[in-house]
Symmetry: C2
Subunit: 480 residues, 2 copies
Amino acid sequence: MSNDNKKMVKEITSMDADFAQWYTDIVKKADLAAYSNVKGFMIVRPYGYAIWELMQSNIDQMFKALGHENICMPMLIPESLLNKEKEHVEGFAPGVAWVTYGASEKLEERYCIRPTSETLFCDHFKDIVHSWRDLPLLYNQWVSVVRWEKTTRPFLRTREFLWQEGHTLHATQEEAEQETMQMLNVYAEFCKNCLAIPVVQGRKTDKEKFAGAEATYTIEAMMHDGKALQSGTSHYFGDGFSRAFDVTFTDKDNRLAYPHQTSWGSSTRLIGAVIMTHGDDNGLVLPPPVAPIQVMIVPVAQHKPGVLEKAEEVFRTLQSCCRVRMDKSENSPGWKFAEYEMKGVPIRLELGPRDIEKGVCILSRRDTGEKISVELNRLTEAIPALLKEIHENLYRRAKERRDAMTYTARDLNEMKEIAATKPGFIRAMWCGDEACEAQLKEQADVTSRCIPFDDQEQVAETCVCCGKPAKKLVYWGKAY
Amino acid sequence: MSNDNKKMVKEITSMDADFAQWYTDIVKKADLAAYSNVKGFMIVRPYGYAIWELMQSNIDQMFKALGHENICMPMLIPESLLNKEKEHVEGFAPGVAWVTYGASEKLEERYCIRPTSETLFCDHFKDIVHSWRDLPLLYNQWVSVVRWEKTTRPFLRTREFLWQEGHTLHATQEEAEQETMQMLNVYAEFCKNCLAIPVVQGRKTDKEKFAGAEATYTIEAMMHDGKALQSGTSHYFGDGFSRAFDVTFTDKDNRLAYPHQTSWGSSTRLIGAVIMTHGDDNGLVLPPPVAPIQVMIVPVAQHKPGVLEKAEEVFRTLQSCCRVRMDKSENSPGWKFAEYEMKGVPIRLELGPRDIEKGVCILSRRDTGEKISVELNRLTEAIPALLKEIHENLYRRAKERRDAMTYTARDLNEMKEIAATKPGFIRAMWCGDEACEAQLKEQADVTSRCIPFDDQEQVAETCVCCGKPAKKLVYWGKAY
């Protein structure tokens, strides 16, 4: 690459020098999002939105395959409705945006912009549920919500964010609990199969659970800097909301009963998870299932006879097997290489006169930088296979890093030592007392991420904080 | 159908008895939308939302094929931003919802919930447009907007509605004008090919144009009751917004210039258009491209040996060629027939023991009620062909009705007479004076729908209102 080219190339802060700045640089220079002049609100730009559309279509298919239907609720909630469930209002009311005027007139009752929609769904359920025959109701909506955050960062925490919120209603506790777990599994599978992100599934402690839920389950991912990112949650409500909103049904024995409820959500935060799980100092690295461009064709020496024609032919051929684009602009190959690395395109396909003579092209992998020469007539098999391999490699690499950055602490000193020096998850026993969670936050600056399902090794006999007997293994960490 | 069955069947008001009630009945009984307890806001229910998803995916593909990209802007607009373009703020500010508090604190500047997003897009364009190389920008977003309407009706006019809003920026006036017309054509094609709705394309008079636009173009559809429904609009802004928001670019001659802008929108109102264009006294009639269920299989005498097995086999076969469902519930065939007629399913497939013996089934068309016996081994050809035929018939029928309900008035008396007695469009000359539009509203209760492109017959020498010389033919009517 010539010096001239280098100057044209977008440069970003290195991950090790300043992780937060590296993140912001990628968000801006890969054209994912822009800051708006509405404080705390972001603009999701075309490339970022295209990633979101792929995430949406993948997970929406999973929801629908399990019988869920999409609906759309109002974006405003009257204050009296928000107030109906005590814990819920205490959790959310302090952080909402209030609409007080409509068309120049002061409203008799103020409305908040939904921070989440349990209250609206319950109000609707009350009208449409009468008999056990009406259950289960398996609903979801794709909307944006507003929470008036003080500190914001694109995709990770913004005053408005795009998400899906599932809300379901069931005749029995057992069925609702199964749904809660099923949807947590959907999130975990989606993270693995579409985002190449390994997650720890587990239950939140009471301190960290959703306002109004009986139990909150979470998938926790580990970012490149060792911090945790809560990437999706699934809540079991019991019949608390049903009672608060007077949702009843006649069961099979003709008795009036309260249905059991769940909700579950995931958001554009997952774009942040992708950036911070797979990205590197050259920019974004996208898992193929959510890459708007999976293969970028860069013709080399494109003015030489036959190059563009061959490149166009390859382009047309590949349209049947991947999301392919070609850049035949006047920008130099060096600029193009850097640009599509920044944008995380999984495969760059280089094609020059000498390649054409030999009937081959060069495939350059974004994940490893490796270059492979492949025969042109083998591309429609080679590319899908390589996309799969890249995905698996991204997942394996992220999992290995996560495992290597997961530590075990047996007492408070060990916990403080690890928390201060080794970014990552810390496995440690907990007695179940919220006071210990508060202590650990104060002394080691960690929060409980979850009580994992798949890892309940008894690493010590006693609580890492208070020394009392403890049975639960908790993953602790610093979190976004 | 037995009396017992009849009682189970949902009944609706007849169209002739009370058109408004007929509409509301369909909205509720076909499970399209529900009233919420948030005044003026609707809940889009699963069946209605599934129709919307099909509309979205069809038109979104058309947008993308023309190079448009989806993005997502904030839902809130600071008052100072809304105020920047004079005509725009005068048109919209009086009807918005104002957020005045965020997280218990009074905001220094109040925000409105977007009624439309020109101001936000311009504010973003200012940041990202520098050179002619950055143009055109072809953006669209799928969001909901809020306008504080006094009188609301599901899908037709609600305080919040789902829509898409396209916003584009161009180097030249000519290119922006082409885009404006292109997108109007996209709407017209979509209405014809996906909704089977014929529309009149034309230009709005200045009185009826969008606040801040230089020109507004519209597609106007005629509902069953002869009223007009504005079903999509496309606006040419010139460089007015660019000047107001200081959006500039360096053109090819290295001079600073203001780009030219367009916007265009369509909404869930189109669901209302489908209901009122094709519906009948048995309920909704859906055009096949937007029917969530295109074929409903109803097994007859389903307890007889072999019936369900054969129905399942047909069901599996048809999955390759249409959106098919089967109802093998315990409800009577009569109930099922009425239910799927109410829901507008284009084809009902009946299959009973005698049909199976003969190797046939009965296809019942929702649009005509006609029943056809078709050989089972011909279904995968017969059904797509029949869906196409149904679509064409719906379009033809709607167009014939519209043409039959389009009248011509040569003077004010004729106009008043037609407006009072014959629901529909009225073709009449107009001098171009807004005062005449006001007069016609007062005296004949009609508004100008558009100055149509394809019908500029000089039906009289003089303005239908004032008698002065007139060159423009205008379509007038009562509108939703």
